[in-house]
């Protein structure tokens, strides 16, 4: 049986020479957490099942910095690496794969041009294309929306793009289904309502998407403790849980979190 995965996420500011892993606090102050490949190396030693790098500047000009980060990381990190942020074409995806990435994640560019998914998937395989969705609860119900019951009432989920700065009007669950039919092999599902709150994952959202699509779902947004990871694995079919800041500042160690989960019956690799 496949193990549930624990995935640290490195948000990278590539405008700093060599790149820095950052953590935004309430969308304003930026706190530097470290050098990308050094942190990746530490998480690998601690037992990370996979590592995600997101270019938060999402700028074409910084692509070379990202490829050098990946190339450097792949010298000493022997688990799958996923890379996202501003990848708009097969050509840009190719640069990242050639640097040693196993998967790329797409978000804004795929919302604007869904064929990008099939273009990359047909060349590199479905397993290499991860769709990142930033979903926000909307309690005003409309016809044709995929409604999810939550303790706060029924809602649908709207996709955001441009790093959460703009909304699309697109139903996140319907988009997930469509993207899977276009060739997406995995979904990185971030709750905008929970991201940065430390209140735990959005369980109804994660449950709904992981039941309604047949590809692995990575739960993201709101994780502040091992208890939150336990909750998302016990209450949903999520294949993986993603977290950033709880690992960055030494609050929790991946090895300890995995031991905690295993002791409570979750199938993880320790």
């Amino acid at each position: 049986m496949l193990a549930r995965r624990i995935i640290p996420c490195l948000d990278c500011d590539l405008q700093v020479p060599g790149g820095r892993v950052v953590k935004g606090i309430e969308f304003k102050q930026i706190r530097y957490a470290g050098i990308p490949w050094e942190l990746a190396g530490k998480y690998y030693e601690d037992g990370a099942d996979e590592i995600v790098f997101l270019d938060i500047t999402a700028s074409h000009e910084r692509r070379e910095t990202m490829t050098s980060v990946i190339r450097k990381t792949s010298e000493s990190v022997f688990v799958p690496l996923a890379v996202g942020g501003g990848i708009r074409s097969v050509e840009e995806a190719r640069e990242v794969f050639n640097a040693g990435a196993d998967k790329i994640t797409v978000n804004t560019s795929a919302l604007k041009r869904p064929e990008l998914i099939s273009e990359i998937a047909s060349k590199y395989g479905n397993q290499a294309v991860v769709l990142a969705i930033d979903a926000k609860r909307r309690y005003t119900l409309e016809d044709g929306r995929e409604v999810v019951q939550t303790p706060e009432g029924p809602c649908w989920f709207e996709c955001s793009f441009y790093g959460g700065r703009e909304f699309t009007g697109i139903d996140a669950i319907a988009w997930a289904r469509k993207a899977v039919s276009l060739g997406v092999g995995e979904i990185l599902l971030t709750s905008m309502d929970r991201d940065g709150t430390y209140d735990g994952f959005d369980i109804p959202l994660t449950d709904a998407v992981s039941k309604r699509v047949r590809v692995p779902v990575i739960a993201s947004g709101g994780c502040a403790s091992p208890e939150h990871m336990l909750e998302v694995f016990q209450k949903t079919d999520a294949s993986a849980a993603l977290a950033a800041s709880i690992f960055h500042f030494g609050e929790y160690n991946i090895a300890d979190v995995k031991r905690y989960l295993k002791e409570r019956g979750v199938n993880v690799r320790v």
């Binding site: 496949l2 792949s74 022997f78 590199y124």
Partner: protein, 200 residues
């Protein structure tokens, strides 16, 4: 020298770096002549069975000779599947056929591709598994799996809806469905065992 066969399918960084890490002297080889004198040969693999065989066919004779000469060989993922005679993924395309049997699709009802870490059941405690125990987890990404007619070649299995062939062994040939180069310390251990066998 450990040769990594480069037949133009995807990036070979990971396997190169992993072999380098375990003390091999890896070289990426783009032409069949380059395989002469290799102490060991790694056949990596990504993509579909058909396109993989297309690209690999020019290496087929040299690889067969090396196999018959007893050169240690290691196939990974599609590099394991092409050892079989044929695959449901690409009907009509002949594989290398060194292992009798075919490659079939994972059953309906399970997540396809199987993507993630799954545990091994070791069927044959071969030297490649020195330092590896039953239950150790490895990283898999695949939609098809090999079904050998002679079950004694199965070195390990995993479970994904059905019992899936995870590794095969035949004389000097060893191959895994999982990616040792993406499977952390345990994956490196298997590659280290391979490199050691290539030096004997």
């Amino acid at each position: 020298m450990i040769a990594i066969v480069n037949y133009g399918m995807g990036n070979l960084f990971s396997i190169y770096n992993a072999l380098d890490r375990v003390g091999a002297d890896p070289k990426i080889i783009c032409d069949p002549e380059g395989l002469a004198g290799a102490d060991g040969i790694v056949v990596p693999g990504v993509g579909a069975f058909g396109s993989c065989m297309d690209q690999l066919s020019r290496f087929a004779d040299v690889l067969r000779r090396a196999f018959e000469d007893g050169v240690p060989m290691f196939g990974i993922c599609i590099g394991m599947q092409v050892l079989f005679e044929e695959s449901e993924e690409s009907p009509g395309v002949r594989g290398l056929g060194w292992i009798k049997g075919n490659v079939v699709r994972l059953p309906e009802g399970v997540m396809i591709p199987q993507m993630g870490w799954n545990s091994l059941t070791i069927k044959r405690p071969v030297q490649m598994f020195d330092g590896i125990s039953d239950g150790d987890m490895f990283y898999f990404v695949h939609s098809y799996y090999g079904r050998p007619i002679d079950k004694s070649v199965i070195a390990a299995t995993t479970e994904h809806g059905v019992e899936v062939t995870a590794a095969v062994v035949k004389d000097n040939l060893f191959a895994t469905q999982f990616h040792p180069e993406k499977s952390g310390a345990k994956g490196l251990k298997i590659l280290e065992n391979f490199v050691r066998s290539a030096r004997c």
